[in-house]
Point group: C2
Chain length 125, copies 2
């Protein structure tokens, strides 16, 4: 809990996307039973269902690249709100897709878990 | 407080962008002293400074159009987290710009205020 919220947001997102891109079936310990994920138009709750949703996505390889990363304190208890905009590349495609993702992180002991997670691809204007 | 979080998010964002696009100097009553705004790389706190930041933006006319709107409960107290992706058109420009914006809304009496607000334009991938 000695990290400032900007450093926490950077370290968390780096860890999260590295884990997502190498083996997203192992993301479960970042979520809890009360966690919610909105992925495009699907909404699921709980670590188990969230990991099932993420592993069921129809691609084998994926690479996230952060374009912007902004964080704000989200409660007096140390919660942190993070907005990421970035691009991702799946499988053998050569055209990156833009996305936006928001994380609401809650402190737990010396670490944080993801309470809210909303992901949206951004289609062209 | 009888609204579900999806309806609240829809009604709030409709009101917010209508007010922003017609007269953004009147947005102050949606923020409080503890509210924070990140607008691109600028970070300001408090209703007064937030409205000053918004009114100082270098355009006269602006029109927001929501593409996607997703909401999740953000606390047991009725907080709501909203992710908007959309496009906006400023002044006489004909090319809309994509943006992402997250609002953390907190209930207050029969209404809500904006606790956290993070806005980012999305540049091409």
């Amino acid at each position: 809990m000695s990290l400032d919220f900007n450093t926490l947001a950077q370290q968390f997102t780096e860890f999260y996307y590295n884990q997502f891109d190498s083996d997203r079936s192992q993301l479960g310990n970042l979520y809890r039973d009360q966690s919610m994920l909105t992925f495009e138009s699907s909404q699921v709750q709980g670590a188990k269902d969230i990991v099932e949703k993420l592993t069921s996505l129809p691609f084998q390889k994926v690479q996230h690249k952060i374009t912007t990363l902004d964080a704000q304190p989200a409660s007096p208890n140390g919660d942190v709100l993070v907005l990421v905009t970035g691009v991702l590349l799946v499988d053998e495609e050569s055209n990156p897709q833009q996305y936006s993702q928001v994380f609401h992180l809650i402190p737990e002991g010396s670490s944080y878990y993801v309470f809210n997670d909303i992901f949206r691809l951004n289609y062209g204007a």
